[in-house]
């Protein structure tokens, strides 16, 4: 694996993201697979933040915890992120006359052969008579030069952004020149060595999980999105709001989460596709409505973007701690689907499935994502919609409508538990979508026999759904890297099991562990939970390892409940940080050795 990592750090608002995004775009266009990871604090300006780019000619899906270069906007970053550098790495900073107060730091520099470069940004900008914001291009230019990329590529990027403002463009070009000159004068023989670029990346997309999910929502034919701002779900709403004129969607910033989810239910009931998004705290407030949809059999799609809880927790960090909540929340017993995305690609593709399952089974669907997926920058092959719109037993044609009876709505006789659904405004017998226990037409019915019959009807949908769900995906390490494998495989040294955004680091880690028979079983559909494939694979594996981003090993708990699997090891991460390839490798190595 030829991976290069550059970490740009500084105070929030200083330009960290802007430099990160510019470099990312340029590098992808050059022919690299780029993975970008943002870290920042729960405040608006001044908090420490970072933007790390991992760059490779082959596919990568996660960050490495050690960087080849750290680019720091402020002195704080120099101290904080010094130890993120690999031996021989480059520290590029802009703090005049910096010296390390801590002798340990100085020692670290020397022992690890770190190259320190001071870029006199202020001075250069003053000379050019340019505003501080231009510093971003200057820094990018130095990085670009260190990467031995072409100046023209950077100029092209800048032209795209500022081409319509001539003076600004010229100033930007001047900054690029200065950056180039700085490198020549101060670091001519320093380079951040990239592998050869690979054409195939050039035309791929570079986007965040939230943007990909937004596109998935648009692609799935969703026409209404109602939500209340909450990190890390907000970027999804912001994206959908930004493109609303093109998409024609109704974007409603509701006054609270209950409004958001109720509007979504109302819109779904009326017959459009609608969705809402939130994080854990807002999701709690939606759980009563989820339960309502269980009994009224109204399709519902909720995106739950996880962050570390409980309470307000760590709002701008990542976690996979809400799985059991999503599975068991909401009073009473009712069918539901809980599924999880894991990267930009499936953030796009799975939204269609979420709506399809919601409509086919007339159930609430929770789509889990997390801060890591929502805000990381992925290089993905052109988003292709493999699914098609499936709306299940929705009756819209005149013939079908004319054959309906009110009692078809909740007919408990449906063997798979799924009864006909039709929409207000359809010329057909009417019914009551009922939140109380009800007879087949939605009328009140408090009898014991009916309660049992309707419970069976509804819970039968879980049985049907479980059979219809794709099994967990299996990835196997071979000489060509990691690949999806649908047929059986032979004996394994290590079987990894996980879900959600840890997938990226797990797959990357597997590729670092050539010469081992490692497989990864990835759960996209989490409730109902299919266990056959796991049991088969576990049977053939020397050792099974559960990997999750939570403290309890929540998927493990569910699996134990459903099929009594025992894991030999659990790698559980709950410090709020995105999982990194090298940390997973280290944990797995220890596991293998044990």
């Amino acid at each position: 694996m030829n991976r290069v990592s550059i970490k740009i750090v500084g105070a929030q608002g200083q330009g960290v993201n802007s430099v990160g995004e510019m470099c990312a775009k340029g590098l992808k266009r050059r022919g690299y697979c780029v993975f970008g990871d943002r870290e920042y604090m729960s405040l608006i300006k001044g908090g420490h933040s970072s933007y790390q780019l991992d760059i490779s000619d082959t596919q990568i899906r996660s960050s490495c915890s050690q960087a080849d270069a750290v680019v720091s906007f402020n002195h704080d970053g120099i101290e904080r992120n010094l130890r993120d550098l690999k031996p021989g790495g480059i520290l590029l900073h802009q703090t005049l006359q910096w010296t390390f107060k801590n002798p340990e730091d100085q020692k670290f520099l020397e022992e690890n052969d770190i190259h320190v470069l001071y870029l006199p940004t202020e001075e250069i900008l003053r000379k050019l008579n340019a505003k501080p914001i231009l510093g971003n291009v200057l820094i990018t230019s130095v990085v670009w030069a260190l990467l031995s990329c072409f100046k023209e590529e950077l100029q092209e990027l800048v032209r795209e952004q500022f081409g319509h403002k001539k003076d600004l463009l010229e100033l930007n070009f001047a900054c690029i020149e200065e950056g180039w000159r700085y490198r020549q004068e101060h670091a001519e023989d320093l380079t951040i060595a990239l592998p050869e670029p690979d054409e195939r990346w050039k035309h791929q997309l570079l986007l965040t999980g939230s943007q990909a999910m937004g596109l998935g929502i648009i692609s799935a034919g969703c026409r209404v999105f109602a939500s209340y701002p909450m990190t890390p779900a907000s970027p999804l709403m912001t994206y959908l709001a930004d493109v609303q004129k093109e998409s024609g969607m109704v974007i409603k910033q509701a006054e609270d989460e209950i409004t958001a989810v109720q509007m979504t239910v109302g819109a779904m009931h009326a017959g459009t596709r609608a969705a809402t998004g939130t994080s854990g705290g807002g999701y709690d407030l939606m759980t009563e409505t989820i339960s309502l949809c269980g009994i009224s059999e109204t399709p519902l799609v909720i995106v739950l973007a996880q962050r570390p809880g409980p309470g307000t927790g760590l709002p701008t960090w990542t976690a996979q701690g809400d799985l059991l909540m999503a599975v068991h929340c909401g009073h009473g017993e009712f069918p539901r689907l809980v599924m999880s995305v894991s990267d930009a690609e499936d953030s796009f593709a799975l939204m269609m499935e979420a709506f399809n399952f919601a409509e086919e089974y007339q159930i609430p669907v929770t789509v889990l994502t997390d801060k890591h997926t929502a805000e990381a920058l992925y290089t993905v092959f052109a988003l292709e919609q493999h699914g098609a719109v499936r709306r299940g037993r929705l009756v819209t044609d005149a013939k079908g409508l004319s054959a309906l009876k009110s009692t078809d709505r909740y007919a408990p006789t449906a063997p798979d538990g799924i009864s006909a659904r039709w929409l207000p405004g359809s010329n057909a017998p009417t019914y009551c979508a009922q939140g109380y226990e009800h007879a087949a037409d939605g009328s009140f019915d408090e009898s014991a026999a009916n309660a049992v019959a309707q419970m069976h009807k509804r819970m039968q949908k879980m049985v049907t759904l479980k059979k219809a769900l794709p099994p967990p995906e299996f990835f196997l390490l071979s000489d060509d890297g990691v690949a999806r494998q649908s047929d059986q495989c032979s004996a394994l040294d290590l079987l990894l099991v996980g879900w959600g955004s840890t997938k990226g680091a797990i797959l990357d880690a597997m590729e670092e562990m050539q010469n081992m028979r490692i497989g990864y079983l990835h759960y996209t559909y989490l409730w109902p939970l299919r266990t056959e494939r796991l049991l088969e694979l576990a049977e053939q594996s020397q050792k099974t390892v559960l990997i999750e981003g939570n403290q309890q090993g929540q998927l493990g708990m569910l699996l134990q409940q459903e099929c009594d699997v025992q894991f030999d090891q659990k790698i559980l991460m709950y410090d709020g940080r995105s999982p990194t390839v090298d940390n997973i490798v280290a944990a797995l190595r220890s596991s293998f050795v044990q």
């Binding site: 266009r29 035309h203 997309l205 570079l206 986007l207 596109l215 648009i218 692609s219 799935a220 034919g221 026409r223 209404v224 109602a226 493109v243 004129k245 093109e246 998409s247 969607m249 109704v250 409603k252 509701a254 006054e255 609270d256 209950i258 409004t259 109720q262 979504t264 239910v265 109302g266 819109a267 009931h269 009326a270 017959g271 459009t272 596709r273 609608a274 009563e288 409505t289 309502l292 009224s296 269609m352 052109a382 988003l383 919609q385 719109v389 929409l423 207000p424 405004g425 359809s426 009417t430 019914y431 009551c432 979508a433 009922q434 939140g435 109380y436 009800h438 939605g442 009328s443 009140f444």
Partner: protein, 295 residues
């Protein structure tokens, strides 16, 4: 609302249901129920052309006592549920029905924001000034000093002046009826359903079982038809004063209506110029046009 006018509209019995009413004898819900059906019939709307959304409370027990597409949702949440439907399908008139407990306690935020959002829908408040279905607790609209369930000495909080609150939010339609006057309620409801925007309809409702203060008799004595007395419903300040002050008589009728204020969906930039409804538009969308900026 786009209300399809057809020469032969439905009859009252098209709205009837096989279920018999379960309200107490003398309950004002009977009257409101009749008026709702009548208004729909008068507007020539067939049951399949409307959506009635119900909150949880005694009023919600209406949900299977009439025909029409219906949704009986959660306590306190009927307004956003109905608003979502109204936004999704502007060609189906949406009527939300809720109690005073639901609307001024559990769900007051929704009421406040639906008025400022001016969703295109009708909201009918079954205002019996108490929590009927949970056996007579005080609501925010219960009169001071009344002994209620869980408030054996009267509630310690002050009674909320609902009309002053509603008018503080710049409503576009405010009416008040009372459960003993079906004819007037019918007229109010017909106007409310035809209103473009959020129509707030306060129906003072007798609850002989738990409300011993604003009884049928009291209402009969105090309510008067302000429109009949020449009230100009286009004057905001006059309407507000009339609505707020119920110390002597209680003005009923269409108290306020603003014409020509765009409703929520009309205010959306994203929907400008679209002829279809969100319900019509569900189909797979090619995102190629959106992905260019990510290359």
């Amino acid at each position: 609302m786009i209300i399809p006018l057809s020469a032969n509209g439905p009859a009252m019995n098209d709205y009837s249901s096989p279920q018999t009413c379960t309200w107490c004898d003398g309950c004002g819900n009977h009257g409101i129920w009749t008026a709702i059906k009548r208004a729909l019939v008068e507007l020539k709307l067939a049951p399949w052309q409307v959506l009635l959304c119900f909150d949880v409370g005694c009023h919600g027990n209406m949900s299977d006592k009439l025909a029409g597409y219906r949704f009986h949702g959660l306590h306190g949440r009927v307004i956003p549920l109905a608003a979502g439907a109204a936004i999704a399908n502007p060609s189906v008139p949406v009527i939300a029905i809720g109690g005073d407990g639901a609307s001024f306690s559990e769900g007051i935020g929704h009421l406040v924001h639906s008025i400022r959002s001016n969703y295109n829908m009708t909201f009918v408040l079954h205002n019996n000034a108490n929590y009927g279905l949970t056996t007579g607790q005080a609501s925010a609209l219960t009169w001071q000093g009344q002994k209620m369930n869980t408030a054996p000495f009267g509630m310690p909080e002050a009674t909320l002046n609902s009309m002053d609150l509603v008018f503080a939010l710049n409503p576009t339609f405010v009416a008040r009826g009372w459960s003993g006057n079906i004819k007037q309620m019918t007229a109010i409801l017909a106007a409310a359903i035809q209103h473009k925007g959020f129509a707030y309809v306060d129906m003072l409702q007798a609850c002989p079982t738990y409300n011993k203060f604003a009884t049928h008799e009291w209402l009969l004595e105090h309510c008067y038809d302000a429109n009949a007395e020449g009230h100009d419903s286009s004057d905001f300040a006059v309407a507000r004063a009339l609505a707020v002050d119920t110390s002597q008589r209680v003005a009923t009728g269409i108290l306020y209506q603003a014409q020509g204020v765009p409703h929520f969906s009309e205010r959306l930039e994203s929907r400008k110029g679209r002829e279809t409804t969100p319900v019509d538009e569900v189909k797979q969308v090619d995102v190629a046009a959106f992905t260019e900026r990510f290359v």
